[in-house]
Symmetry: C2
Subunit: 213 residues, 2 copies
């Protein structure tokens, strides 16, 4: 009922959303001023809610972990093992789960965060194990592969860059292509494929100029 409270809550949401977006575009270099500007609020308002930049990022991190766990539980609730796993992966990816990678290591990990991360690992293990037992997931794909896939697809350098440059015309096309890519990767997780026929070629290809160790 109190209009004040509502506005405050909405501002808090747009703030976190802006933080995630700017983080995706600018990486670890993301500045507080840029986040506030993106959210359309003054710097002072940001600092009234979060004492420091680190506190904002920690809150964002907790939110991300919460989303992971909720998505995993929602996936486990699905009677279809594959639909559950795919839904979890897709949900994490479109959430932008990989956006926080650049700040990993720059913020202090609270015990709340590590506890939630541990629970997230357990849930993912369960999802993977269930999919394996139902034979709807390649046997040579482990939980760590799913984690990496989510992290890898959790942000798109091209899309982020286009958004940063304000190229709205190319953006929708790129976002659509990205969605296709995710679908392809998800499809590649299913069993029944021949064991990687002819691909990939060895790493020694084209690496004469760079050392890729």
């Amino acid at each position: 009922m109190t209009t004040r409270k509502d506005i405050a809550e909405r501002n808090d949401r747009t703030l976190l959303q802006a933080a995630r977006d700017v983080l995706a575009e600018d990486g670890a270099h993301a500045s507080v001023a840029a986040i506030a500007a993106r959210a359309g609020v003054g710097i002072g308002s940001l600092y009234r809610r979060y004492k420091t930049k680190e506190e904002l990022f920690q809150r964002l991190s907790v939110l991300s972990l919460d989303h992971w766990n909720e998505a995993a539980e929602q996936g486990l609730a699905d009677p279809d093992p594959w639909a559950g796993l795919a839904g979890f992966i897709y949900g994490c990816v479109v959430f932008g789960q990989g956006s926080l990678a650049p700040v990993a290591g720059t913020i202090e990990v609270t015990q709340e965060m590590s506890a939630k991360a541990r629970r997230g690992d357990e849930l993912l293990d369960e999802l993977v194990q269930r999919a394996h037992q139902a034979d709807v997931l390649r046997k040579d794909v482990a939980a760590v592969d799913i984690s990496l896939l989510i992290e890898q697809f959790g942000r798109s350098p091209v899309v982020d860059q286009l958004r940063k440059q304000g190229r709205g015309d190319l953006l929708t096309a790129a976002a659509e292509a990205r969605r296709r890519l995710i679908a392809i990767a998800l499809d590649g997780l299913r069993p029944g494929h021949s064991p990687l026929p002819g691909s990939p070629p060895g790493e020694e290809l084209f690496t004469g100029r760079w050392s890729n160790k």
Copy 2:
């Protein structure tokens, strides 16, 4: 024969290699000092070879485009359309083609660069068209999808972050998992898959909290 020249050339190579690595880890925030330190040379030596930071990045960009085109030509030379395309993709990915995305838009694009990029697009089109005609590539995958895939896999936030933190123990495991992921994605490009059975779920999943437009 002249030892001086040899050392200079080798230093130039390590410099570009270091620039690419630091760029992958630090993004657009990568500093000249960090690049020089990574290469094991002084800042003065870097600035003797490249007048400005932009010139270094432009050189790196040209090198990246050259690699793309060489890999594409090498792929076209392969009589097997699929092996040629897969080899091209894999070569570009392990090269770290996506590392330059953060600086795209921050450096001036020379006509040399745009010409090479244009030629690269043509070569990729040819590779894709050949694969389509031989029916070794999903019909619903276009050239732009391949581009995006290379950009998406061209750098791994997790691997880069681990390298930055010096976690050598986890690094090899993550790099190996990444390689598996690439193989899965390549496999997903092949035809004969059922048209994305049951996956992915709609984007409206889990997006109640964030607007993902």
